[in-house]
Symmetry: C2
Subunit: 369 residues, 2 copies
């Protein structure tokens, strides 16, 4: 592995919007928590534990076929802005890079596979967090990838494992499989038809949980919901994933139905709503991130309903990531005040939409004829 101090140029393949149901499920992520025998983990870990864990993890990765051609990002070696960029791209977690203010956690690192869809976070909440991230709704494919990496690393590292409880983790809620599978869903139909509350309640009753776009505690913005398993104990990995698969398929169907209802019962309102969202994104000269996310949600729905022919979903996905603060500062080549940030964001969004060309639907094209 080669040590890097600047974020990967790519790492955004999961945005390419080519997976199944990609108009509703943006991406699939699976994460496995693992700890190493012989080292303290969680809050009790000392600097010496963390150093040793990173060394062991690097050694294992160097000889693992899935990682050895990849890159190593040792977090304390990165600039603050590089850490933010990687966080905004969902390559690392907030726990791995630490808060903006304080020093980054010692000996924390991301070991990233060449295609960036697979990675290993070291010295996060647990010693190791294996992470796979694919575009669209691809739970089983993501699981095979993460499972294969787990096998490779497991041959080289001694995982902390208890015959009764399973894999031991820093937080008890992860004990057992250590598995957290989640899908990022766009559910504007259920929000607009006000059925979302009922659906989320149902999700809770079947052992799943939901969060906003940026993980635990983050607000729901832009009608994005991350659905994931709540239980990690007492079921096999395959059972957990099959269960999530089944429930997400149901939610996809509910969302499809809700969109059909909107199209049937309020076509003019929907059309106006999605075009206004486009108009504001296309021409606003200052916009907060939350506003952009909410407007993008409208445009995304419009494309799914074929009311708009452009921009592409890939463009929308890119904007979602690249209109975040660290990315905007990188584009501007300097740090930005809050007001400058909103201006830079709007400028970037305008340029992206302009580059994608005329969004005119068939109806609009006929107007012009």
């Amino acid at each position: 592995m080669i040590d890097r101090t600047t974020p990967p140029a790519g790492g955004l393949q999961w945005l390419d919007a080519n997976g199944p149901h990609s108009d509703i499920v943006l991406s699939t992520r699976i994460r496995l928590a693992r700890n190493l025998q012989g080292f303290r983990f969680g809050p009790r870990a000392q600097d010496s534990d963390r150093r040793a864990v990173l060394g062991a993890a690097r050694d294992a990765a160097e000889s693992a076929s899935m990682l050895h051609e990849g890159d190593a990002y040792v977090i304390p070696a990165l600039s603050s802005s590089a850490r933010q960029l990687m966080l905004e791209r969902h390559l690392v977690s907030r726990d791995l890079v630490g808060s903006d203010e304080g020093a980054p956690p010692s000996h924390s690192a991301l070991l990233l596979a060449p295609r960036a869809e697979l990675g290993l976070m070291v010295n996060e909440e647990d010693h190791l967090r294996l992470q796979g991230l694919l575009s669209g709704f691809r739970l089983r494919e993501t699981w095979r990838m993460v499972d294969a990496l787990d096998d490779e690393l497991g041959e080289r590292l001694r995982y902390a494992f208890h015959s009764e409880f399973g894999y031991l983790t820093s937080c008890p809620t992860n004990v057992g499989t250590g598995l957290r599978a989640s899908v990022l869903m766009h559910l504007p139909g259920l929000v607009l038809t006000q059925e979302i509350g009922k659906v989320l309640q149902g999700i809770g009753q079947v052992g799943l949980t939901f969060r906003g776009l940026y993980g635990e505690g983050s607000e729901v913005v832009g009608n994005f919901f991350q659905l994931s398993n709540q239980t990690t104990l007492g079921k096999s990995e395959d059972d957990l994933i099959d269960h999530l698969q089944k429930i997400v398929e149901q939610v996809v169907q509910y969302e499809v139905q809700a969109r059909a209802v909107l199209r049937r019962d309020a076509p003019a309102v929907m059309e106006d709503k999605v075009w206004r969202a486009y108009g504001l994104l296309r021409y606003a000269h200052a916009a907060s991130f939350d506003e952009v996310m909410n407007l993008l949600s409208g445009v995304r729905l419009g494309i799914s309903l074929k009311l708009l022919l452009k921009p592409s979903v890939y463009t929308l996905n890119q904007i979602m990531i690249l209109s975040q603060p660290a990315h905007l500062e990188e584009m501007a080549g300097k740090s930005l005040t809050a007001a400058e940030m909103d201006i830079q964001r709007a400028m970037y969004v305008r340029a992206m939409l302009r580059a994608d060309g005329d969004p005119a639907s068939t109806e609009e094209m006929n107007d012009q004829g």
Copy 2:
């Protein structure tokens, strides 16, 4: 004169935005109230009076150089939609055409000069209302035009005139000169800087009054204010007009200063505001008249501040008139429900803005380079 039953194809010269200060003063209107000796006027007028007045007015117009090549619109001979169209174009008053529901007032008519900037309403509140309407801030020019028509008609008709009071009118507030001069001003700067209240208060103290775009009792929408003289008695016509001229010049200066303050103190906010207004007009698929007027106000301000290069002010002025209900129904070729009206309006506005081309400012053009 030729009798017409369809509204004039033109009649919108006053929208051409070529007069002085046309970015602040849209148009200048002067109206003279006159009544004829020997006929009852006001509410006491009988059908026989009204018939005789129309006959006398037509005879006088036929031999008046300024009107004889024009057209006669006898209101009861017009369809309801034709009456509405003329009302929306500001060619006639609500009093002349009557309410939507009831029958139109008997023997009421508009005698319109060939260029439509000069007209004579017959059997409105008074027997005669001479009206001149020019684009921009042109009080003296408009007055010369109306005064000349008054002279021509006065040679042919016996006006009701009292040596002490002056011209007699149906409503005492018009007695004396019978003159009402008004300018239609766009004052977004004073509204945004919240100085408009003070300015309007000052206007009241110097004997002027203000109304919204559609005359007495109409709400202020789109930051349009009609300023006019309140007094018609005890001063000469020239004095009334000079006074209005002076006050409007002051208000123009206040508005210019307010816009300079906005540009200096909140350039980013202004830029965002005007571009958002453009974006919504350019892409909304349903919009009420009031919303369109308010958004047009933002775009108009943006053009004045050179933040937008397009659309033209003439286009904005056209939209102001043609996005009203009767005009939209004429375009659609059928009557429209309220919801259909909002859709038709948005479609028309989109087509107008699209036809005017890319509104990109210098800044935006550089973005593209």
